[in-house]
Symmetry: C2
Subunit: 280 residues, 2 copies
Amino acid sequence: MQFETLAIVGVGLLGGSLGLAAKARGLAGRVVGVGRDPAKLATALELGAIDEAHAEIADAIPDADLVVVCTPVDLIPRHVREAAELAAPGCILTDVGSTKARIVAEVGNRLPAHVAFVGSHPMAGSEKKGPGHAVADLFVNRATIVTPTADSDPNAVERLKRFWEGVGSRVVTMSPEEHDRAVANVSHLPHAVAAALAGTVDPAYLPVSAGGFRDTTRIAAAAPAIWEPIFRTNRAEVLAGCARFAARFEEFRKLLEADDGPGLIRWLNEGKKVRDALGS
Amino acid sequence: MQFETLAIVGVGLLGGSLGLAAKARGLAGRVVGVGRDPAKLATALELGAIDEAHAEIADAIPDADLVVVCTPVDLIPRHVREAAELAAPGCILTDVGSTKARIVAEVGNRLPAHVAFVGSHPMAGSEKKGPGHAVADLFVNRATIVTPTADSDPNAVERLKRFWEGVGSRVVTMSPEEHDRAVANVSHLPHAVAAALAGTVDPAYLPVSAGGFRDTTRIAAAAPAIWEPIFRTNRAEVLAGCARFAARFEEFRKLLEADDGPGLIRWLNEGKKVRDALGS
């Protein structure tokens, strides 16, 4: 057991899965969930993702030695600060937000000295929502990026890394800024591209679509309310990615317009090489 | 049994799967394969996808009452014409090419009067290649588009539709031109987008990528030699799709640049609506 009491603020797909994983793997003695939606809390209790449910952060935090904030990225700084004010000495706080630089900067130096905050981002999730889709193995073999800064408590960083390894993930350490660049590449830009593609296609032709379209647009089904603040809190990196992608796509259009067979083969091979490096 | 002898010209993933499906479902008495690669033919024989293998079209066609040409789209018209010259009276010929207008136009009126050609396109496949990946259920619950013209023999069209239904697919009938517009939307444009995305991302960040990136770029692993002629034989429709997609993506970029939260939500919802209509 790594922690006596794990408090999870925001019991959706990620928070619920984290509770299931921590309990299944014996990482926490007790899991306390916080959320505003009684139906979600009831589902999480029923699934055994949490042992105890609260509507208010104030009621859940005082006993916790690990707090994980799993709310939308625009709410995370406030929730971390609220939790930190109430936390017992030695409590470690983290979050699972998809952007890190702004969160870490906003939380940064505003916390009481007796607690430690380090940002995290498990690269796990789904286009599905809510604790009803939670699974204990959501983090297995997925990367979790931990983003310490020069101010971070090294002991808290180590304990947090062990926790994420404990739920089955591979821990990668980056600065908050490098994290945001990395996920702009592999997550935020792909999301914008998939959503643009879904918004381009003539729905009349969906009945003849196949696996390629299904895969390429899958993440466009995700909740806009989750993604809007992700894009906005990683705006500069996503805009830079957009410019690179648009230029790359324009290369294709020009090659096809010129009916340039060898050029198209070369261009397709460049993309294939990257995708092949990832494996199926 | 719908046909005595099915000849498959080009025994790759699609041709091999078609042989397996036709035999598993008792649609053909005998399946004859044609290909230039002895290793592929040997694999197809071993898997039971074909009963007999030939290097030359001339040796495989005379007994066939159904010929399915499964070679790359740029070779299909020539292979159909070659097969048609040798085919017995009443033989039906089709192909599985991913574009149809050019193939149907090039084959069109140049065939002997005693055979019938109707274009087909099963919306099945994979980023994988070769008969080693062939499976008998590749066509199950997938759309197969059949593209008759005013000149098509109605009896041949009916028999061909029954054959595609026989291997498990849903048959949809379109003109060759409408087919090409449909697949530009749901297949060719998505392929270009996925390949552009794979070619944009910094490979250094692949280790922290997750399911979203994996899904969105999966088809970028497909063989460039297959896709280059697909794009080139559906050039006008793909270019039209590129222009629509680029405009749609630029909308996103501008909304993010303007930090327009409600606009981003609206834009994301428009894509989500299309993707939700497809189901998971």
